[in-house]
């Protein structure tokens, strides 16, 4: 406003000066009148300027106070919005604690309650195998592509401490035979603590080390000859646990009892007596800082059961009698008891075992002795059949080998240079039948008294879920059918020549 005043005064002054210079000759009275008029104009203008200045000073505080109120109002709105967001986040976090969770990944498809007290997970195992036998024109129908295992596996937990497993088997194909679905695992496990658990139902008895390894993780398509002397899945109750984080693992149970290399396929018992199985396994360096020895473990499993002499409901899987036969890697029977042979009285087993894993190296060995009294008519004998194996592996791509398989560092993804993990494996195994079995209880012209098998294989782990195997197995026999005898059925057809079989497998597990 002061500038405006200055301009007005300057303008008026200029006018005055111009007027002064313009006409020297103007009459004095006219000049005086004009000067007076101009003075009046100046005064009016000055008054107007003052009025304008006064109004603007009044307007400034009013604007400032409404601005402040607006700002405060906006500030409150922002704070309210921010606080609402905080409350919503707290509420969402509280709600999330009670919402069930759904997961889908390499470990299966699962859902659980918010507190994880209730969990259900669906896994699966599919194994598509091929077996190609060489130099066996005398045996028909054993070359095959088969669905070795096809299992939906349902596991879960209820009320935090009760685990369950239900696994039917739709595979387990046998060349030339129709596949009958069956229940492989169906059990409940109560977990009071890691060192005190009680299991009930149908599951693997705690005896053989290689047998206890999951079907998903075995080094070869088929387990070794040792498994011929180990009891398979059975119905029973077991107390088990891991002490000090697994430094000591124990298991002891009461079961129906199954024959060597057999599993209970009927889901009921077959005799009045019960069997007792137990195992103790120690990993003494597990909790130490000695990395090279942390995965060294050893122990022993065993069983005792008693069969009634008049047992006729056994678990037959042989050409005769109640005792099962023994099978090669190619799942061909090379030994069977003669017709009329029954299991009698006690059956005892002992299996010392050990494993060692360190980096890409894996070693596993076990020995099994199965002492079984058998009888045929009035004759009876106590037999001691033995078997042992040693297997090893090396992960060529450097990943760690474990009892629970190999996890590739880089999943198979050739576009991005990922090829999975590659492992080479080898195994040697023997099974020896007690010579006292021959000739009364087993026909020496048909059944071998011993088998020696070596195997070599390559396992390719594409990722956690998919694996491809290829292996070769050669089994030689002691005794058995003569080479020039053309037997049309096992065990004669098998024991007459060494078995050479090439395996492949494509496996999906999740």
């Amino acid at each position: 406003m002061k500038l405006n005043q200055l301009l007005i005064v300057t303008f008026v002054g200029a006018q005055f000066a111009v007027a002064a210079f313009a006409d020297d000759a103007t009459n004095n009275s006219t000049e005086a009148a004009e000067i007076a008029a101009l003075k009046q104009e100046i005064q009016k203008l000055d008054q107007k300027v003052s009025d304008l200045e006064g109004r603007s000073q009044v307007a400034q505080p009013a604007t400032a106070s409404s601005d402040a109120a607006q700002i405060q109002d906006l500030d409150q709105k922002v704070r309210i919005l921010s606080r609402e967001r905080e409350i919503d986040q707290d509420a969402a976090a509280t709600t999330a604690k009670t919402q069930p969770k759904i997961t889908l990944g390499a470990s299966g498809f699962g859902f659980s309650s918010a507190d994880s007290n209730f969990v259900a997970t669906i896994h699966g195992l599919i194994q598509v195998d091929s077996r190609t036998f060489s130099q066996d024109d005398h045996v028909q129908g054993n070359d095959s592509i088969l669905l070795r295992r096809a299992r939906p596996i349902i596991t879960g937990t209820v009320f935090r401490d009760f685990d369950f497993n239900f696994t039917p088997e739709f595979g387990n194909g046998t060349p030339g035979a129709a596949t009958t679905p069956s229940i492989y695992d169906a059990y409940l496990n109560y977990r009071y603590s890691p060192w005190f658990q009680v299991e009930a139902g149908k599951f693997k008895p705690p005896v053989g080390l290689e047998y206890l390894q999951s079907d998903t993780y075995t080094s070869f398509n088929e387990r070794s000859l040792v498994t011929d002397l180990i009891p398979g899945r059975d119905l029973g109750f077991e107390l088990h646990g891991d002490i000090s984080g697994g430094v000591v693992s124990y298991a002891a149970g009461i079961f129906n009892g199954v024959g060597d290399g057999q599993k209970n396929t009927t889901s009921i018992g077959f005799q009045n007596n019960r069997g007792f199985d137990g195992r103790l396994f120690v990993q003494p360096f597990k909790a130490t800082g000695i990395a090279a020895l942390q995965n060294f473990g050893f122990g022993a499993g065993g069983s005792w059961d008693s069969s009634s002499i008049t047992n006729t409901l056994g678990l037959p899987n042989t050409t005769g009698g109640s005792q099962p036969g023994f099978y090669t890697d190619g799942q061909q029977q090379f030994f069977a008891y003669s017709s009329g042979v029954v299991a009698a009285r006690t059956h005892k087993r002992l299996s010392p075992q050990a494993y060692y894993y360190y980096g890409p190296l894996s070693l596993l060995g076990e020995y099994a002795i199965s002492g079984q009294q058998v009888s045929k008519g009035a004759a009876s004998v106590d037999l001691q059949n033995t078997a042992w194996e040693i297997s090893g592996g090396w992960v060529l791509t450097g990943e760690d080998a474990t009892f629970n398989g190999v996890t590739p560092r880089h999943n198979f993804d050739p576009r991005n240079g990922g090829w999975g993990a590659l492992q080479v494996v080898a195994r040697y195994a023997e099974l020896n039948v007690d010579k006292a079995a021959f000739p009364v209880f087993a026909d020496p012209t048909l059944s071998a008294s011993g088998a020696q098998a070596w195997s070599l294989g390559l396992n390719w782990y594409l990722n956690k879920n998919i694996r491809v195997n290829a292996s070769y197995s050669h089994t030689a026999f002691t005794g058995g059918a003569a080479a020039n005898i053309i037997a049309t059925s096992a065990p004669g057809s098998v024991s007459s020549h060494p078995e050479d079989v090439f395996f492949t497998r494509v496996q999906l597990s999740f």
Binding site: Q76, R79, I80, S82, R83, E84, I87, D90, A91
Partner: protein
């Protein structure tokens, strides 16, 4: 001598072997944290001296209604110390964890202390808030928790409603209109009293907080009386937060004796002193007189007299479709 030492050792072992470890869970409403922190230490010391046993009390705090629902859903409370009897009645009726006549088991209807609702304002009281009438002025922002979840919020609502009833000659329609205007000024609802204190005092939202009296005093101590002050209205409600043992839980845990003693001790001189120091109005008259300066005298009305009891008040105002649902619209 050897025999004497053996006896002494055996006795020591026997005594130490017989000393029990007792764990109690006290599920309480939102603003009682400081009270029970102090009280629990005092009770543990008392119980150890009396019985030789070690008692550890865990606390759970939250909006009273929410806490009651948690206990109904399975939270293993040995005792509940909630904001209003209605919430404990719900535990009795829905979960059958304690008898229906639980309130008769302890003195003063199982309420060892009382409280009320006051106004917590910014220092200098810039909005000139003196009474409930001021809370319905347009543009004023009132902070109060959600009465659906918070016991304190229900007390505050009923205090405001009671004021309106007293002011408008118990005309329910006018009281409803009053409460509608009040809640139009509520920009945000926390789930519990402590949340509302955070909203007002820490987040700087609102012009007035309708707070538990004890919560207001504690907030003054924590945030400073140079930032806030308490305004006592002309009328408020007598809030009677009750306590009780949750019988079935305590029996299952083997803690009935300790839980009962825990609540009884609230009525002891030490318990009443701790309550008063934490700005709860003690039932003990002598201790109340000792701490009289901490508590402003004001007209207090009761739920029973103004609303016919909690069951009627809950049904009329806070149940689904009740008055609160009718009048409150989130902003």
């Amino acid at each position: 001598m050897k025999t004497f030492l053996k006896i002494l050792l055996a006795s020591s072992l026997a005594i130490s072997a017989s000393a029990k470890e007792i764990k109690l869970l006290n599920v309480s409403y939102d603003p009682t944290r400081e009270l029970y922190t102090e009280y629990n230490a005092a009770f543990a010391k008392y119980w150890k001296a009396k019985t030789g046993d070690d008692v550890t009390i865990s606390q759970s705090h939250g909006g009273s209604g929410k806490q009651a629902q948690s206990v109904i859903a399975g939270l293993e409370a040995d005792v509940v110390t909630l904001a209003l009897s209605y919430d404990i009645d719900a535990i009795s009726q829905q979960a059958k964890l304690l008898p229906a006549d639980w309130q008769k088991r302890l003195p003063n209807n199982s309420t060892p202390y009382t409280s009320t609702i006051v106004f917590f304002v910014r220092k200098g009281n810039p909005r000139g808030i003196k009474d409930w009438d001021d809370l319905v002025k347009p543009g004023l922002k009132v902070v109060v928790p959600n009465p659906k979840t918070s016991g304190g919020a229900r007390w505050a609502y009923l205090a405001a409603y009671a004021y309106a009833l007293e002011t408008y000659g118990h005309d329910d329609a006018k009281a409803k209109d009053f409460i509608t205007k009040l809640y139009k000024n509520v920009p945000i609802l926390d789930s519990g009293a402590r949340g509302s204190t955070i909203t007002f005092a820490q987040r700087g939202i609102g012009d007035v907080l309708l707070a538990w009296e004890n919560e207001a005093h504690l907030a003054l101590k924590e945030f400073g009386d140079d930032k806030f002050e308490i305004v006592t209205p002309s009328l408020s409600i007598l809030a009677e937060p009750p306590v009780t043992v949750v019988d079935k839980n305590a029996k299952r845990h083997g803690t009935t004796e300790a839980a009962t003693a825990y609540l009884n001790y609230l009525y002891s001189d030490e318990g009443q002193e701790i309550a008063a120091k934490n700005f709860y109005r003690p039932r003990n008259e002598a201790i109340a007189a000792k701490y009289a300066a901490s508590f402003t005298q004001l007209k207090l009305v009761t739920v029973d007299r103004e609303f016919g009891g909690w069951t009627k008040a809950q049904a009329a105002h806070f149940a689904d479709g009740g008055t609160f649902d009718q009048i409150y619209q989130p902003q």
